[in-house]
Each structure stands twice: as C-alpha cells, then as structure tokens.
Amino acid sequence: MQLKQTLDSLNNFLPETTIIITLLVCIIADIILNKKSPITSLIAIAGLLIASYFVSLQIGIKTSIFSGMIVVDPYSVFFKFLFILSTIFVIIFAYASKEMKNSGHKNEHVYLMLSLTLGAFLMSSSINFLMMYLSLELVSLSSYILAGYTKKVKRSSEAAMKYVIYGAASSGIMIYAMSLLYGFTGSMNIFEIGRFLTSNSAGSNPIMIISIVMITAGFGYKISSVPFHFWTPDVYEGSPIPITAFLAVTSSASGFAVLIRFFSTTFLKSYEAINGNWQIIDGVKWTEILIVISVASMIIGNFVAIWQTSLKRLLAYSSIAQTGYILLGLVVANQAGLQAMFVYLIAYLFMNLGAFYATIMISNKLNSDNMEDMKGLGYRSPFVCVSMTIFMFALSGIPATAGFVGKFYLFSALIEQRMLWLALIGLLNSVVSLFFYVKVVKYMFLMRPDTGSTSKIQYGFGNYVVLLLLAVPTIFFGIYFTPLLRIAEASISMFGIK
C-alpha cells in the first residue's frame, strides 16, 4: 500500500525528478567539459524544457502526493511554468554576462540555479510546514551561494554574507512560529490547521497573531517586502546582474507562491464559489498585516529609489515597490485579486527580466551601472535603450505594456472590494515611481554625453534576439491580454482544495 502510494506519487513528481537528473548531468558535464563551454547551459535548458513538458501533463490534475506533503494543482503548475521560463532566461543571461565570465568559475551557477528552481517547484506545491520550510531553505541556500558567486569581488562576498545572516535570522523566526502553530493545533498540514482553527473558533487566540507575524517575516524576506527588505539593495548591488535578476524574479516568485498558499489556505473558513470571496477564519487578521506591509513596501521602495544613481540599486528598490503592488492582490482576499496577482506576475517576469537583461548589456560595455555614465547612451546603442525604455514604462504601468494590464487588474480587484483608498495609494505610488523609471530614460535619451566616446556600441545578434523575446511579449500582452487572463483564470479555477 505504502509502496504503491509512493510510486503513484513519483508519477506526479516527474518535473522535479527531471530537474534533479538534469542537475546531476550538468555537474558531470561540467567536470568533463572545458571551462566555459556553453554545453552545460544547453543541457540545463533542455532539461528545463523536458520538465516543462512533464508540467504540461499535470495541467488539470489536482491531487496530493507523498502522504500529503505536496500537491499537484493548477496553482502550482502555473508557478512551475513561471519558474521554468524565468530560469531559462536567466541561464541565457548568465551566458551573456561578462561578470559571470570573469568570475573564474566554470558553470557552477547553472546547477545552483537548477537547485534553486527545484526548491521553488517544491515551495509552490508544498502544503506541509516541514516541506515549506525545507524547500524554502533549499531556495535560500542556493541563492546564498549564487549571491557570492564572484567570490573575488569584495562586494559580492559581502552581499552573500549579509544575505546569509538575514536569511538565517528570518527563517529561524519563521520555523519558531511554525512550531508554535504546530503545538497549538497539533498538525503541520495547512489544511488540517485550517480545519482545527475553524472548528475550535480559535482564530482570535493571541498565539495566532504572533505566529502570523513571525511567519510573515520568513516569507516577507523571500519576497523582499518592507520591513524585511534590508538585504535586498546590498545583495542586488553586490551580486552579478544575472543572479540579481534570478533573485528578483524566480526567487521572489517562489516566495509569493508559498505566501499566497499559506495565507489563503490556512486561514480560509469557506470559499464562496459564486463571487469568489474568501471567508477568513474569524479573528485572524492577516489581511490587515499584509496591507501595512504592502503599503510600506510601495512607499519605501518608490521613494528611496528616486535617490539612487546605480541602476542595480534602483532596480532593487523598484523590486521592493513591485512586491508591494503584487501583495495588494492578496489583501483583496478573493479570486479576482488572486487572478490579478497572477497576471501581474507574468507581466513582471517579462518586464523585470527585460530590465535586468538590458542592464547586463549596458554594463557589459560600459563596465559600470551608474546612470551618470549612461548619458546619451540611447544614440550609441538605440536597440538596447529603446527596449530598456519599454521595460521602464512597463514597470511604471503605462498603457500598451503588460505592466499596465497588471496594474489595471490589481486596482480593479481593489476597487471591486471597495478598497478605494488602497487603490488610490497604489496608483499615486505609481506616479512617484515614474520619477525614477523616467529618470533612466532621461539619462539614456535626453541627456547629452559629457565627454568620451560617442561611437556606436555593437552587440551580438543573439543579444538582440533575447531582448526581443522579452520586449515583444511586454508589448503584445499590453495590447492583447486575453491570453494572460485565460492563463490566470485557469490557474486559480481549482484553488483551495480541501
């Protein structure tokens, strides 16, 4: 019986298995092959594509495997696709980046990225505290090493060190809260905890609020929301840019995956199928906590970003602010909000990865990511700078870009639930964010270069293709966003299985 169950579970575990195998193959290939061979990266991409095929077989399935440790449902399938897509892009980024080439390593980053992706897969599908914690640690450990990847660069090592300390502290706090909840409810399964809390009407017990705040610390650190964001600017600035992009998109999306599942499942009393509203267990105040976190993230992220001169630091603070926007979808606590989050996450993937990739290309040639050095760059490398402009406008949410669609949905969800003030705060924040997004454009196109070269900068053909792959969806989904909506709708359709 037990064996059969495990074998069945393994059938539904094929994507993860594929990644593990790819990871091992990559390690071996890296040992055999020459330094800096693209083959390791290619193997990893091929492995991820195979994994995506297996994920596509899981579409529509809804089951829990490994004795209720993890589930396979449309929700996790959505996130798995998201992780695969972003990881493929980041592996390509890493290959194109000069920083990574000069790091003195072979292709270790490839399998570290794969292991992070594996952790992210598990994070998006775990429904058990133990599993959540373990997968979160898998993601964290991989990212610590990645952050310190260029170990000869002082900043990078410093970043990794900060990251470890912050990470260790916050996951320590989180696991303590989990133990509290376990002691209180007698279960580690989030569905069972939910059932226990509902039947005992224990939502207003003070232990709940304490543990919710503490668990938020653990997840909030992963998605780099205020006040758990202090590591973000330093780590983003210190790490090589491909790694930064990876942390900003894949790692933070994995944080969202587990955060959304935790809050929406554990404290869900019932779910109204008609209007999609969630009935939260009485006395549990997680939406209020998240509102504070989200507003603080938007305000601090946006206002601090205005003063940045380094493009990487600017993108770091912008990511903090974007986290705030995405969280807005969760505080609405209904299906529409969740759908909006999904739409936003897809848009975010393209526009944020795009912004980072453009940054890589710029800093490869300028050996700097300071905006002062980017004066007049728009005329030296028009293609890259026009794409960068598209991503900047997308991040600030101007129409005809995917970013606008994401914002439109988020604020629609808020306004539908009469949370007008929150929508107003969010939208005014996006006006503030214009200051610095436009500042990037300003340096590239409106300022004239002080001195130095004004010659054209040439890039390889492949660079343009990758940039197009990111820029075209950003615009296409901005004009015709039905596919985005369909994906998001399908992914939440069977959310919240009991």
Partner: protein, 512 residues
C-alpha cells in the same frame, strides 16, 4: 472601406511611422517629405470623412465595434459625432503644418522626431474617436510617451525639467481618471448586468447611481481632464513645457493636447455625470473665470514671447471651460468652435514666435523692435493672427468668444451674470497683451543692430502660415460651415442636460 474608416484614420499614421526607421539617416529631405506626405494623406482621409459625415443625426457615426478583451466585455469601439469630428480635423490639419515648421528647425535625430510626431497623431485621433473607456484611456495615456520625448530631446536648455514636470503632472491626473474609470465600471454592474466600460451603455445608466457616488466619480474624471486643459490652479506645468518645447512641440501641445482635456469634459465628465456636473458648476466656473483673468494678467507682464502665448492659452481655455459649464446651445457650440480657433490662432502664434527664434535665437521681447520695416509680410501675418486671437470681428476668435459669452450670459446653469461680466474683461486684457506684444516687437525704430538685416518670411514659412490664415478668415466670415457640423451633436448633449435638470428638480420637489 466604410466599415474601417476610423480605424484607417487612427492607424494610418501609426503604421506608416514605422518605415521611417528603415530610411537612411543622412537623407533628411526624404524623411521629412515622407512624414509630410503621410500626414497629408491622413488629412485627406479626414477631409473625406468630413464630406461623407452626416451632421443631421447627432448620433455616433462610423461606429466600429470589435471584441477586444472578451473577459472584460471590452470592445475596440470607435465612433465620432460632430464635436469629435471638428477636433479630428483640427488634428490632421495642424500636424502637417507642424511637420512643415520643423523642416528647417529640427536638424538632429530627424528620424526619431518624425516617427514620434506621426505616432502622436495616430493616438490623438484615437482619443477623439474612442467610445470605450478602456480604449480611450489607452490612447490618452500613450500620448504622454511621444510628447515626453518631443519636449525632452528637441527642447531648449531646461527641457529635461520641463518634460518631467509635464509627465508627472499629467500622469497624476491620469491615475485619478483610471480609478474613476474602473470604479465606474464596477458601480454600474447592477444596472448593466456585467462589467463594461462601453461609453454608450454607461451613459444610459449613470443617472441611477447614488448622487454622492456620481459626485466622487465626477471629481475623479474631471480632475484628470482639468489638469490637462489646464485650468487654474493646475496650470503650472504649461508655461514650462511650452517654453522648453521645440516649435512643433509647442504647436501640438497648445493646439491639440490641451483639447483632449476640454473634449474629455464634454464627452465624459458631462455626458456620464450630468447631475454632478450641474451641482459642481459654480466651483469650476469660478476657477474658469479666475483662470481667464489670471492668465491674461500674467500674459501682460511676460518678457518672453513663448511664455506670453502660453499664459494666453490658460486664459483662452478658461473661456472654453466656461462655455462648457454654461451648458447652452450657443455657449457649448462656441466652446467647440473656440477649441478649433484656439488651435489655429495659438498654433500660429507659436509658429510665429518659432520663426523669430530661428532668426535671432532669442524669445525676449526686449530684443526686438521695429521688425515691420525689415519683415513687412511677416508683420502683416503676425497682426492678423494677433487680431484673431484677440477676437476681432471678421476673424475666427470673435465668433467663438462671442458665442460663449452670449450663451453664458443667460445660462440657467450659471445662475449669475457675473461670470460673464468678469470673463468679458479678459477680452480687453487680451487686446492689451497681444497688441502690446505686436507693438514692442514690430513697430517703432529698429534699435538693435542685429535686427537690421533679418529676412522676411520664406516660402516654406508662408506654406505653414497661409493655410491657417485661410481658416482664420473662413471661420470668421462663414462660421456656419463648422458650426453646423457640431450643431446636432451639441443638441443631443444638451438633451442630457435637460433630463438631468428635470431629475434634480423632481428630487428637490419631493420633501425628504
């Protein structure tokens, strides 16, 4: 063709702006000519629409409706009535002229410049055509991007500050508008049956919304539009943007972009929330009158020609807003006509200032004087344009202002003569600042040596100014050509006013 008329008009300049990038950068003449031809073809299409447009119905014509985002019940829906048609004609008329005006002034990055202008043209036409709020917002917001670059790249020294200020100001207005649009969509679900942003549907149900909601929504929408107009006290971005923008940018900004705001007031603020519109009229009418006088007074004391014209825009658009809020047949038609007039005369004034700037590289009034002797033709044109802007009978400005003032004087919606009386003083003030400008620049002895050998208008410059002059005189003597286009559309708009008035009276009559 007929089924796609408006789409062709909107997307023709947008689609044909792309080939510019494939031209050789060195061949500027080719690029310029190409852009001009494209904009002229757009103009011809709009003139064709003008001829086949039937002004008698007052309903939306050339309606196109295609599913865009089915999950949102959002349609790609366009249609025009007389009011929008006039503004579209103004757009397609002004754009070729501003391209012509840039022939000799824009010397660097010509490809990008003409690309952005054509992109801007398409989106502007889109704003005036859209009858779905989401589509409208798309075009409305998208216009910021080309404008940002037009001011920021080709402007004068302080251009970066000006363009960022412009961008942030109008974006603030836009997000309020966006909240209003989404909220309206949700509030109307019980009446429409589903989430919809279709203007024609929403107009029929908004009157059933609770009054306080209507007022909030009205404020959200109207703030967005008033910042764009801009009405006092939201006008502070305007002088900066105008002064720093290149000539073509100033012309487009003054003639066309500002009209988006006044158009929005009629099409959205009023048609959607007539009751709130009536209730809040006093506040906005006071602001309009203050803006009329304040703008005129500021114009008088300006030392910079472009700033002077910019502040005069604040004053003139105050008239337009007053006419809109007066809500009579005369005043509303006057406002629509005055939007066109302002586009023509202020556009021409900016062109003229730009021509002087080209010759002397300064816009300081004190640098000039006595130009009449060296530039006789130029000064004649300048005088006509000034007089048109002042509102001399026989020229276009008179017709618009007169209709607005006559309509506003007895307007039941304004409840008072005093608005009109105060507004009328600005007619005198406008004579002061424009004629004084003319006097200081054109008449008297030539004191500055540099002005001695200035050249009179070139053929190219004549080509840009003469078409405007034709229309300045045409509207002045035969305004009916244009008034009759908007007549029935305005009548239809006013029907909304009557029924809203009726409802308010009924509600007030019922004791609570």
């Amino acid at each position: 063709m007929a089924a796609y008329t408006l789409s062709i008009l909107i997307f023709f300049p947008i689609v044909f702006s792309i080939p510019i990038f494939f031209f050789n950068k060195e061949k500027t003449t080719l690029i310029k000519t190409y852009a001009l031809i494209i904009s002229l073809i757009t103009f011809i299409i709009s003139v064709y629409i003008f001829f086949i447009f039937n002004p008698d119905s007052g309903e939306y014509a050339f309606v196109e409706r295609r599913v865009w985002i089915p999950l949102l019940n959002s349609y790609y829906q366009v249609g025009i009535d007389g009011i929008s048609l006039l503004l579209i004609l103004l757009t397609t008329f002004i754009i070729p002229l501003s391209i012509l005006a840039s022939f000799n002034t824009i010397k660097n990055r010509t490809k990008e410049f003409y690309f952005l202008i054509l992109l801007l043209e398409g989106s502007l036409i889109g704003v005036f055509c859209a009858t779905d709020l989401l589509l409208f917002y798309f075009f409305w917001e998208f216009i910021l991007i080309p404008m940002y670059f037009l001011i920021g790249i080709w402007g004068s020294d302080d251009r970066v500050y000006a363009t960022v200020k412009f961008f942030i100001y109008t974006m603030t207005g836009s997000v309020l508008l966006l909240i209003g649009i989404i909220w309206l969509g949700f509030l109307c679900i019980p009446y429409v049956g589903f989430f919809s942003l279709d203007l024609t549907k929403l107009i029929t149900v908004t009157s059933s919304l609770p009054m306080d909601k209507q007022i909030y929504l009205f404020i959200l929408f109207t703030l967005g539009f008033l910042i764009k107009v801009p009405l006092f006290p939201f006008h502070t971005w305007l002088p900066d943007a105008h002064v720093q923008a290149p000539t073509a940018g100033s012309v487009i900004l003054a003639s066309l972009l500002l009209k988006m705001g006044t158009y929005g007031l009629i099409r959205f603020s009023f048609e959607l929330f007539p009751a709130a519109f009536i209730k809040l009229t006093p506040i906005i009418a006071v602001l309009a009158v203050v803006g009329i006088i304040y703008g005129a007074l500021l114009s008088i004391v300006q030392k910079d020609m472009k700033k002077l014209v910019a502040y005069s825009s604040v004053s003139h658009l105050g008239f337009v807003v007053l006419g809109i809020f007066a809500l009579t047949q005369e005043s509303l038609q006057g406002s629509v006509l005055q939007m066109v007039n302002h586009g023509l005369s202020t556009g021409a004034l900016f062109l003229i200032v730009g021509m002087l700037y080209e010759r002397r590289h300064t816009k300081e009034i004190s640098e000039f004087g006595g130009l009449m002797k060296v530039m006789p033709v130029f000064s004649a044109i300048f005088l006509i344009v000034c007089l048109s802007s002042i509102g001399l009978p026989g020229l276009n400005g008179f017709v618009g202002e007169f209709l607005i003032l006559v309509g506003a004087f007895n307007a039941p919606n304004l409840h008072s003569y005093s608005y009109t009386i105060f507004a009328t003083t600005a007619v005198i003030l406008s004579a002061v600042y424009l004629l004084w400008l003319f006097q200081r620049v054109m008449t008297g002895p030539i004191e500055n040596e540099k002005n001695k050998d200035l050249k009179d208008v070139s053929k190219l410059e004549l080509c840009t100014l003469i078409p405007i002059l034709i229309f300045i005189v045409w509207i002045g003597v035969q305004p009916n050509t244009f008034l009759k286009i908007s007549e029935n559309s305005v009548k239809k708009v006013l029907l909304i006013y009557d029924s809203a008035k009726q409802r308010i009276n009924n509600n007030d009559a019922v004791p609570k």
